[in-house]
Amino acid sequence: MRPHPETWLKVTPGGLWCEPADLFIDPARAVPRAVVTHAHSDHARPGHGAVLATAETLALMTRRLGEGRAGETQQALGYGEPIDVNGVRITLRPAGHVLGSAQVVLEWQGSRAVVSGDYTPRPQATCATFEPVPCDVFVTEATFALPVFRHPPAEGEIARLLHSLYVFPERTHVVGVYALGKCQRVVSLLRASGYDAPIYLHGALPPMTEIYRSFGQDFGDLRPATVANKEALKGAIVLAPPGAIQDRWARRLNDPVVALASGWMRVRQRAKSRGVELPLVISDHADWDELNATIDAVGAPEVWVTHGREEALIHACAQRGVRGRALHLIGRGEEDEATEEAA
């Protein structure tokens, strides 16, 4: 008889804890041993003893948290390379969320749980594509778990941004993007659409982008928006963190069109209340259809929901005979677009 994952994978105040391996996955506070799914700060906290993650995640984490704060020791693990920790087999699989993001596949005594972290099933050029892994328990996010959230193709949103540039050729188009993931994704989408003019970045964005570059990604001509003069920014695309697009920083821009790239932009009222003039529905999370399709694809009889709109997803699971459980993890969804404040 295979042990049910709830007997060996438990919710503790520190986060999700795999008892036989004695390690935490994305713990909310410093622990001796942590597996980190990706480098967003609500998943990658400082001060752990040993950290296991992809090489990309370790590099991003280290740049964000500072040398020595992203784990006393770090071990890089490639996608699909299993390791054994006290009899628990651990494999990382791509999550498609940001560079280096991984699902953690845990197997113990014939039972398998997948902790997916944050994920996006649709392929993106800036990170490895999500792979569904059949399992007994699938641990999922539910950031956009309402049927009103259906992300349109990102290429169409980029086309809207470019059309706006065409209608308002004098105005600076400032796009609010999260520093890790969204920034690089938007640049990559712009390049893929044929936009080859320089793109200007707020000072908070280059560090993460450099790490992407060090892993072989090319973003074309990126320039700092901080030193470029106002004249050069006329009719240019400027990327900046969401908090900066309407604050003092944005005053250097020429009559800006304020855009924001986020899954939350699907709902007009959200966009209006933020004073966004050009909402772009570009998300690095699964939308409603993708959440449900993923749950079907992994075929798990039980789904655990970490954060977001748990009740709707659990309701939808129940309708097709899948048992849903809300984990109420502490400290999740405090960064990236999982929070409405940030994006």
């Binding site: 309402l146 049927p147 009103v148 959230f149 259906r150 349109p152 809207r160 059309h163 706006s164 209608v167 308002f168 309407q246 604050d247 003092r248 944005a250 005053r251 009559d255 304020v258 699907r266 709902v267 007009r268 009222q269 966009a271 209006k272 004073g275 966004v276 003039e277 050009l278 909402p279 709109r309 009740e311 709707a312 309701h315 939808a316 309708q319």
Partner: protein, 547 residues
Amino acid sequence: MKAFAALLERLVFTPARSTKLALLRDWIATQPDPDRGIGLAAITGELSFSTAKAGLIRALAAERTDPVLFAWSYDYVGDLAETVSLIWPARAGVNAAPPSLAAVAEALATAAKADLPGLVAGWLDALDASSRVALLKLITGGLRVGVSARLAKVALAEHFARPVDEIEEAWPAVDPPYLPLFRWLEGAGPQPRAADAPVLRPLMLANPLEEGELAVLDPASYRAEWKWDGIRVQLVATRLGQRIWSRGGEDITRAFPEVAGAMEGLHAVLDGELLVIRNGVVAPFSDLQQRLNRKSVGPKLLRDYPCAVRLYDILFEGEEDLRGLPFDARRARLEAWIDRFRPERMDLSALVPFASWDELSRLRDGAREAAIEGLMLKRADSPYLAGRPKGPWFKWKRDPLTIDAVLMYAQRGHGKRSSFYSDYTFGLWRADGELVPVGKAYFGFTDQELAWLDRWIRNNTVNRFGPVREVEKALVLEIAFDAAQLSTRHKSGVALRFPRISRIRSDKPAAEADALDTLLRLVENRPDRPSGSAVAVREGAWPRRST
């Protein structure tokens, strides 16, 4: 439909008028007929369909979605049309082409009620989410994108480089999708004309009187009138109908049915001030405000805030254009016209007799009545000219009142000012030592002062509530305003007319700011205020309406 949806989406999120105009110009330049005209009619509210309502849309959604998920989604989104458009499940195998705007408008206007649910559901299946919301807003009539008919006309004028007045004149002669109008604007046809249509004529506006300008003007060649604090309107009554036009070119006829009713049977174009007038006494602007920005009015508002128009000028009598006549001659025609027709809800703006500028200046200083903003000076020989010609007409506003108030809260502005704290709530001291808010001001300062205020606010914040910051009660602002009126809408019981920041008094300690009592003594409509202190016009200079 997709292009229309994209336009709506941009308009919804755009507060700036200039941006809205650019978007409309782009629409006019790029869309084919008849979509172009139908789109303009839809966003300006000239197109409405009575057959499809919210209930139908709700029922369609209920057929296609899980009720629990729909309820949660509606809770989250907060708008029915938007919820339905976002939640609408794609139907496998649907490959109908999305309908054009013209096809939707045509079908909505002609379809039988029983066919509507199937028709709308079919469209929803064929459209993407943003087009679905456009469709649903179109059929429920709640576009709310902040574009008036006037703005659309201005966009047409800008795009085709024609004076907006010509478009205004042609407009009543065409219906959506306005094909003859576009033909004319594109140089392929004559200007559409509706003979005798009640169209707006360009207004003549006055310049503010600058310091020292009086010295060079001859008092004998000018006439003076009180400048009433209502809204400037043009009344146009012809055989084809009656219109009340605002100064900005908005048709506000429906909001003032009693005035429109009084225009029936008349044939003239008149210039005047729309006011709330009770028993011949003009009420403060705050009373008129109750009647503004409404599509229609109920009997209670009509009874409590009765409106009338104080006439300044006559532009047409019958079909005779009087605009070329000198002011004195038009004035004589206006007086004779009033005498002859004795219209309801209209009276004559009296001339204020004076022999010298000094005398007029004293009369102006004495005018503290809330409904008087100051004086108008009009040269006796001035024809009625479009726009704001320099010289013939001046407005001579009375000096503002001022108080020293303490800054309490600041809010972020909009558009260009969205990164600045530019809306200021200020208060005065009550006898018990509490500071109570008395008003809000968001202009009067220079860009440098705004930057200074913004910095001060960021450095002295004690509390944040979303876009609002509560600040240290430490900064005194000198507030200028035109009048103070009693109001039940404010905690302090007082409302200010045209409050603006006149000076930043960083030299003055907050404790030395004015007391609420000081402001209360300036209130115009205080019941205990002796009426003898009001202006001379109350006693005699003001002719009662001839009835």
